[in-house]
């Protein structure tokens, strides 16, 4: 009897063990495809691009390693100002656009958030108005602003029609000033987002602190200047990081505001990368600029992500 029952009893037990082990591993098996995808298509591809930046790839990727030559090339172009190299223009424009974009989004965002936080009637109508540009694609935003700023039919013409004939605003068709128009459109699109971040921060301020300040006789201005705005430091930092990384990644907006970036006047590292890789057949140079973009963003985002994850309690 026992010699017959033993194997029968043993088989379900091993199946149970197997199933339990599968249950143990199932979560990891569920996560594995996503993680592998990210590993290959993000990290693997980044390494691949790094590798390409050390080759002399032209229209097609090749494996002829040429050392740091591409990096030396970009380094030299960085200082080639007469006539300015495309890379020099891209870096200068990045500074202008990035600086204006970050500073104005922060200032406008904080201003709007403070104004909205004054127990305003109709906040439910005003807030969505500041935020709706975020739902638009940069191409739509660019198309709208290109029309709006076009001197032939836009703002300049409207001012002339209304009698202000000396009004002159042709930046969007002026190669030297185009990048400022890109910044205007970008600020219009993103400042509402920063407003939302600051508003959430302001609404999280403990009412007791403000009450204490009022009892001590602090004016509204003093309360903001001395107490509330300093408390916004983490929000300020988050917004700064998000804006900086968005500025570096900006691509569509340049093309749509300027009308495909004529003559590379509004060149940014992102458009530089694209044109060298896909139209000028200098893939290795394009890869090199992509690696520089990646490193810049990593320098901003990695410490940020690290601190965000450490702050969170388990």
């Amino acid at each position: 009897m026992s010699s017959i029952t033993a194997p029968i009893a043993a088989e379900p037990r091993s199946r149970v063990v197997l199933r339990a082990r599968l249950q143990d591993w199932l979560p990891r098996l569920v996560l594995a495809p996503s993680f592998l995808i990210v590993l290959v298509f993000v990290y693997g591809f980044n390494l691949w691009t790094v590798f390409l930046s050390f080759t002399n790839s032209k229209a097609f990727a090749n494996t002829n390693l040429i050392g740091w030559a591409n990096y030396e090339k970009l380094w030299n172009w960085t200082f080639e100002t007469d006539p300015p190299s495309g890379w020099y223009t891209a870096l200068v424009n990045m500074g202008i656009f990035g600086g204006l974009y970050v500073v104005f989004c922060l200032v406008l965002g904080l201003t709007l958030a403070i104004l909205l936080d004054q127990k305003i009637r109709g906040e439910g109508i005003l807030r969505p108005i500041y935020l709706y540009p975020l739902a638009l694609s940069f191409i739509v935003t660019g198309t709208a602003w290109k029309l709006f700023l076009d001197p032939r039919i836009g703002l300049e013409k409207a001012m002339h029609d209304w009698g202000w004939t000396s009004f002159h605003f042709d930046w969007v068709v002026n190669p030297r000033m185009m990048i400022y128009c890109v910044a205007i459109a970008g600020i219009w699109q993103t400042s509402g987002f920063v407003m939302a971040m600051f508003l959430a921060g302001l609404r999280g301020v403990d009412g007791e602190i403000l009450k204490a300040a009022q009892i001590d006789g602090a004016s509204a201005y003093q309360t903001y200047r001395r107490i509330i705005i300093p408390m916004m430091r983490p929000v300020f930092f988050s917004a700064l990081v998000v804006l900086a990384h968005m500025a570096i990644k900006s691509y569509d907006l340049v093309l749509s505001v300027t009308g495909k970036n004529p003559g590379g006047a509004a060149e940014l590292p992102s458009t530089f990368m694209y044109s060298y890789t896909f139209t000028r057949n200098q893939m290795a140079v394009g890869s090199t600029s992509a690696v520089i973009m990646l490193m810049t963003i990593a320098a901003i985002m990695v410490p940020y992500i690290y601190s965000e994850m450490r702050e969170k309690p388990q």
Binding site: T111, I129, Y130, T141, W188, T223, S270
Partner: protein, 315 residues
């Protein structure tokens, strides 16, 4: 309370007491700003409703004198986009829909499962895995676009040989399929982040109890987490929909010509250098391109804002 809830909830503290003058200044500034944010959209809509001579000859702030839907009809079905033979943007509108629906669904479901594992089935190293997926959200796509072009080119080759062999490409090399793949891959980080932060605060005791009762991984997910995940699903779907619909870089790189998504077609239409620039048609096309995401924003504004805030990592 999440950041987005903070925005919409009125603070329970004492309002700062302002004089009448201060209140006038505050309201004045807010209204001026609202005006500045609205004016480009208003000008767009008005321009799209004017005949061309009224656009080029008149004031952009003036109301349309001869209201016409002609530019809309032309943009939708007749306008020539770049060098393509297809007339009108409606074909590209459909391209975008065909791309965005599967991409959003797949990336959202994967994100939900990933978030579930990363919060309730933790294993050694889960933090590193999450951190690596999180960083993937922020990389500049320029640093992956060349390898992606090589791989998708390879898929196209497979598709061509499949056509030679069987007469069907089975989706290999199809621009729509390519864009779905790309958007799922590079959307995974965000969807995982959203669900991870949402499930992080979901009571683990419930799951422990279900495990003791012998519920399996998928049973717990389906019976306990899914019924409680509606808000985060809405947030994620809106966020992914907006991002993928509005994408331009991938669309312009991996789907040329008739297969391009809406944003690429719009850019080609607006920047066509031949002939007279039909501003009114361009604006109608731009509004059509913006309509789906604007609609989602108006209907689900609360969830939209919540997604934005979560996308800034702070959950």
């Amino acid at each position: 309370m999440s950041a987005a809830d903070l925005i919409t909830s009125a603070p329970d503290r004492e309002p700062a007491r302002h004089s009448l003058l201060t209140r006038i200044v505050i309201y004045g500034l807010l209204v001026i700003f609202a005006f500045v944010y609205l004016i480009p959209l208003v000008v767009m809509v008005m321009t799209s409703l004017k005949p061309l001579d009224e656009v080029t000859g008149g004031n952009m702030f003036a109301l349309p004198q001869h209201l016409t839907l002609e530019p809309w009809i032309k943009a939708w079905g007749e306008a020539r986009i770049g060098v393509s033979d297809t007339a009108g943007i409606y074909g590209y509108f459909l391209n975008s829909i065909k791309m965005v629906v599967p991409a959003v669904l797949i990336s959202t479901v994967l994100g939900a499962l990933n978030g579930f594992v990363l919060t309730k089935w933790r294993f050694p190293g889960h933090k590193i895995v999450f951190g690596m997926m999180l960083f993937a959200c922020f990389i500049p796509f320029q640093s992956v676009i060349i390898p992606m072009a090589v791989i998708l080119g390879g898929l196209g080759d497979i598709g061509r040989s499949l056509i030679d062999l069987t007469g069907y490409s089975f989706g290999f090399g199809s621009p729509t399929v390519n864009l779905v793949i790309v958007h799922v891959i590079y959307g995974l980080g965000f969807t995982t982040l959203f669900f991870r932060n949402y499930y992080e605060i979901f009571p683990t005791e419930l799951i422990k109890a279900a495990m003791i009762d012998g519920a399996s991984f998928f049973q717990i997910f389906r019976r306990i987490l899914l019924p409680n995940s509606t808000p985060i699903f809405i947030v994620t779907v809106i966020y992914q929909f907006t991002n993928i619909w509005n994408d331009f870089l991938f669309g312009s790189t991996f789907a040329a010509g008739d297969q391009a998504p809406m944003t690429v077609a719009l850019n080609n239409l607006v920047n066509t250098s031949t002939g007279v620039v039909e501003y009114n048609v361009n604006m109608a096309a731009a509004i059509i391109a913006a309509a789906p995401t604007l609609f989602v924003y108006i209907v689900g504004g609360r969830y939209f804002v919540r997604g934005l805030m979560a996308g800034a990592v702070k959950g």
